[in-house]
Amino acid sequence: EAGVTQFPSHSVIEKGQTVTLRCDPISGHDNLYWYRRVMGKEIKFLLHFVKESKQDESGMPNNRFLAERTGGTYSTLKVQPAELEDSGVYFCASSQDNRNSPLHFGNGTRLTVT
């Protein structure tokens, strides 16, 4: 089966610009998660979709971040306007259920804000 794919793999933007990250989960996985790792620190939960609905968005840093999952398939995470502290690696993961089943992670998008 195809794994979780993320696009782009790298993005370098200037402070104040907008960036949109995309995640395609494994087909049939209703649960989709976004995580972020700021350099050298822990990986932090951002939010969780069940199909197209936001189940938990308690980890979203602020209102500059907007996640969507139209139609319950792929998801996008938009940062507008980007700030320096948004730099990091953004991981998407999917799973069949939300009952401690293993997460399948994408390779991540490395975002650098200059």
Binding site: I43, A93, F105
Partner: protein, 112 residues
């Protein structure tokens, strides 16, 4: 709030020797504990998990982890390290569901 501590930024071990990567977790009900591994430029891969039952959990690639409730630890172990085990290892905790709290990661370097 839940927290996970990985006290070592890096662990070095010679190939063939046993390895241990340490993890301690915060006490919050019945913890569900996980280990994931990240190879360079790749996403995290699931290694093993502890939900309930035997304290010694066996996972992928010959890894195992021991749940120790009294010490609130979940150390990752392997009897004989391989150079190919060199990677970044993350310990994670959840109180249920897949909203994991991860540690800061431990870089494992296995040398010939």
């Amino acid at each position: 709030a839940q927290s996970v501590a990985q006290p070592e930024d890096q662990v070095n071990v010679a190939e063939g020797n046993p390895l241990t990567v340490k993890c301690t977790y915060s006490v919050s009900g019945n913890p569900y504990l996980f280990w994931y591994v990240q190879y360079p430029n790749r996403g995290l891969q699931f290694l093993l998990k502890y939900i309930t039952g035997d304290n010694l959990v066996k996972g992928s690639y010959g890894f195992e982890a021991e749940f120790n409730k009294s010490q609130t630890s979940f150390h990752l172990k392997k009897p004989s390290a391989l150079v190919s085990d060199s990677a970044l290892y993350f310990c994670g905790q959840t109180g249920g569901g897949n909203k994991l709290t991860f540690g800061t990661g431990t870089q494992l370097k296995v040398e010939l």
